[in-house]
């Protein structure tokens, strides 16, 4: 085959694109690790496909999951995606810690180029393909249930968002087996990511993976803003909405405004790389500060996109496991929205050292510190919620308590970094790495895990193992402190971030402590999987079919677990905050109801998977300069969307008789079930019906 034909068909792909060939040509430990990771992707994919075929799971997979427009299933798929990507990025973190603890005056096991790919994929995955899918998954599952809706505003768009995000994650995975990833970090700063310094495919993989994810996220934000504004059940005024839905609303607004700068930044970098534009190059009028400003104009609101949903989870968890109304509901709502607004006023603190005047730095430093005020309000509100409550130390509650302590600590180092002169001292050291992990692990990951454990019984109808939940908690907590407190010390001692090799023997004890922490964090991940395994195995004795295992307060607990496809047999009417709890106190939560009517639900659609697949093909073609694939993917994508606009038969009707039968059966079961007192909620006595304490009836 001539070189031209090859290029037309396969673009830039050659033998060296495959890590196996690279390992064969250059047999070093670093290359073997790369080849092993690539082999894991290939073998994993083949094994998965074979298993699917062997078990005849293809049809159910597509029928029940991939083409489904049910927000609950889309939510679960988002969280599965987050779990897979978390596993990869956490293994990468352990590898990086191993490298740094071995590479004190020694080469270690990972070559510099390889190390740079590791920290780039670790950051990219953790932000865009772990955190974002996790929180979007929780929104998907919980928000429509909390606001008494039967689905999101745009169910098909929801499926498209999921598939675009999954496509981006797929690209990052494929880069392990074909080609390489960017070495420019998760923020991809040019000019280092320009063709002059990285002519290969690495930055292109980064650009298109991020682009797919940011488009998906913009559409999710749009969808959830429209859902929360327009689909609330009668009587559910904004100020009666549970706090998790409030944070979802604020996050959606942030997504709508903050994602366009990222989309634009990556698009402009792509124009530089593909068509020779001069936005961020070193010559001919390129200006890298434009990129830095655009990126952090997205990047700082992104921090709150990540953290606010966790704040929402903590508000729900702390209130439920303290059996108290959330203290200072209004102040929590106001604090959330204030954080949302302030998040757009501080982006410059990510680059204090890049040459603006001291006055500008001072203004942004002060703006940064003001964010501590609404955040502090929230912390006090949570503490007051627990005060004199009936606090139960379940696993989600433990994560919430650990968050309060640890997050405050991270906030304090954030105040330090917000002071420009101090920032000059520790900028680009591992002090910063310690700080943002200190914000994001408690401020995001603990929250997501707590939310997963808290709502799991609602989604699947049985509780997770409490014992393994606590083991996981112990690992995540101790692991965090051991892995990141040493980095504060090292950062103050001047250790720069992203270092592949180190030359200061005094760093070694701290680095060894940090690797122990990283291994404990890995143990935390494994414990989560064990917990899932054990809980699925023992599911029969932990079933909570009535649907309210934690004696909680908001509407999602007022329906069976797992909920029917249409969520609510009868759309609830709400006249106060925590309306479900109020009904429970008056023993009216499970009384006979009616009349029932037919329910129209969206039919399954192939458009989501097709859009995801064609967009990914388009992106893969762009990465490797396989132009036919790019054009084909692009045209097929829009053809599918336009064809869909001609489909009129998009809903199917669930007859009222079926709805009525299911709902009556559930209400009868509730009547026949014995309520569980709170002290016994983590025992098999819990069938999802809370024992009512009439003494608590107020007024």
């Amino acid at each position: 085959m001539s070189a031209e034909t090859w290029y037309a068909l396969f673009g830039r792909i050659d033998a060296k694109a495959f890590p196996f060939v690279r390992a064969w040509n250059n047999p070093t430990v670093s290359e073997f690790i790369g080849a092993f990771a690539g082999a894991l992707v290939v073998v994993g994919a083949v094994a998965l496909l074979s298993l699917m075929t062997w078990m005849r799971w293809w049809r159910p997979l597509f029928r029940d999951w991939l083409t489904s427009l049910d927000h609950k299933k889309i939510g679960i798929m988002y969280i599965v995606l987050a779990g897979v990507m978390l596993s990869r990025a956490l293994v990468e973190a352990v590898l990086m810690r191993a490298q740094q603890s071995l590479a004190v005056n020694a080469p270690g096991i990972v070559a510099p180029e390889h190390f740079a790919q590791l920290f780039s994929t670790h950051g990219t995955i953790m932000i865009f393909f772990m955190a974002m899918p996790f929180l979007t998954g929780l929104f998907n599952y919980v928000v429509p249930l909390q606001i008494g809706a039967r689905d999101v505003a745009f169910p098909l768009l929801n499926s498209i968002s999921l598939m675009l995000t999954a496509g981006g994650a797929g690209l990052v995975m494929v880069s392990l087996a074909i080609g390489e990833f960017s070495t420019g970090g998760w923020s991809g700063y040019p000019p280092f990511t320009e063709t002059a310094f990285q002519p290969g495919v690495g930055p292109d993989y980064w650009i298109w993976a991020i682009t797919l994810s940011s488009l998906g996220t913009t559409l999710s934000g749009l969808n959830f803003a429209a859902t929360i504004y327009k689909k609330r059940c009668p009587g559910l005024h904004l100020m009666r909405m549970p706090l998790f839905s409030w944070t979802a609303l604020c996050t959606s607004i942030l997504m709508i405004f903050a994602m366009p700068p990222l989309t634009l930044a990556t698009a402009m970098l792509a124009l530089d790389r593909y068509l020779g534009f001069h936005f961020f190059t070193n010559e001919l009028g390129g200006n890298v500060m434009n990129y830095v400003n655009l990126f952090w104009l997205f990047g700082h609101p992104e921090v709150y996109i990540l953290i606010l949903p966790a704040f929402g989870v903590y508000s729900e968890v702390i209130s439920a496991f303290s059996s108290k109304e959330l203290y200072g509901y209004t102040s929590l709502v106001v604090a959330t929205m204030v954080i949302g607004v302030l998040s757009f006023t501080v982006w410059l603190h990510h680059f204090f050292t890049m040459g603006q005047s001291a006055d500008v730095n001072a203004a942004f430093g002060i703006a940064t510190m003001t964010i501590a005020v609404p955040t502090g309000v929230k912390i006090y509100d949570w503490i007051w919620t627990m005060f004199r409550g009936e606090v139960r130390f379940t696993a989600p509650m433990l994560f919430s308590l650990a968050f309060i302590m640890t997050f405050v600590l991270g906030g304090l180092t954030g105040i330090l970094l917000a002071i420009p002169p101090i920032d000059y001292m520790v900028h680009n050291t591992v002090f910063l790495v310690a700080h943002f992990h200190n914000m994001l692990i408690p401020g995001l990951l603990y929250g997501m895990i707590a939310g997963y454990m808290y709502w799991f019984p609602k989604a699947f109808g049985f509780r997770l193992s409490e014992r393994w939940g606590k083991i996981a908690f112990a690992c995540w907590l101790t692991g965090f402190y051991l892995a990141f407190m040493p980095l504060y010390v090292l950062g103050l001692a001047g250790m720069t971030r992203r270092s592949q090799a180190l030359f200061e023997p005094d760093f070694r004890p701290w680095l060894l402590t940090a690797i122990v922490g990283a291994l404990l964090l890995f143990g935390g991940l494994v414990s989560l999987f064990v917990q899932l395994w054990v809980s699925v195995r023992d599911r029969e004795q932990n079933r909570v079919p009535i649907g309210d295992p934690w004696d909680a307060r908001s509407l999602e607990w007022s329906i069976p677990a797992p909920p029917p496809e249409y969520n609510f047999a009868l759309i609830p009417q709400v006249d106060r905050l925590d309306a479900f709890y109020w009904l429970k106190e008056r023993e009216q939560a499970y009384t006979p109801a009616g009349p029932y009517s037919d329910i129209a639900m969206p039919k399954n659609s192939w458009v989501g998977p097709i859009v995801g697949l064609t967009a990914t093909a388009c992106a893969f073609g762009l990465v490797w300069h396989i132009w036919w694939m790019t054009i084909l993917g692009f045209v097929a994508l829009w053809a599918a969307v336009i064809a869909r606009s001609f489909v009129r038969d998009t809903h199917r009707t669930i007859p009222a008789a079926e709805v009525a039968a299911d709902d009556r059966r559930w209400r009868e079961a509730a009547g026949a079930t014995e309520g569980v007192p709170r002290q016994l909620e983590v025992t098999p006595a819990n069938r999802g019906l809370a024992k009512i304490f009439p003494s608590e009836v107020t007024a």
Binding site: N223, A226, L264, L275, F277, H278, L284, G285, G286, L297
Partner: protein
Amino acid sequence: MSSPQLRHVGLNLVGADALEPGEAETDLYGFWIFLMSDAVLFALLFAIYGTQLAATANAPGPEAEFKLGSAFVETLILLTSSLTFGLAAIAMKYDHTRKGLVVLLCVTLALGLGFLALEVQDFATMFAHGATPDRSGFLSAFFALVPTHGLHVTAGCIWIVVMLAQIAAFGLDARVKLNLLKLGLFWHLLDIVWIAIFSVVYLQGTLG
């Protein structure tokens, strides 16, 4: 329901009772949010253009390359297309024969294509002078901002064609009407963005 109450900005639909209550409202609301996100994108492109004005790097600059006359004709064409789209929306509501709507949509499409033809011609002239985006930061910013608007107009033209096909296939059912309302919002936004481009890029470049 003879005259449903629709709480959304824009022309109220007659015969929207085929939709679920609130569906039209939610649909249009979602589309407004999308337009807002798109507007953020254009705002940033304008900001980038502003920072790159001086970065001409000895390549052709605004004075040499921008033709106010051609940009003015383009402005007139695009504004007229907005007028014809507005008339099309009124025809959709009051003219039950559909003929007026189809004719006005075709006129809008023709004006859109005419605008694009003139714009491409402008770009071709610039390319012939060597004013290509790989010459300078300024030209990069110009060729990011103005063609992004052009791409939006192209997408709008394709959308008009799709809507003509939908009118042929379904007549004026509630969904077609909603889609036409959304297309109208999109088309008018492009007009607003173009007025900003005309002022910031062409007027400033030739007179400022």
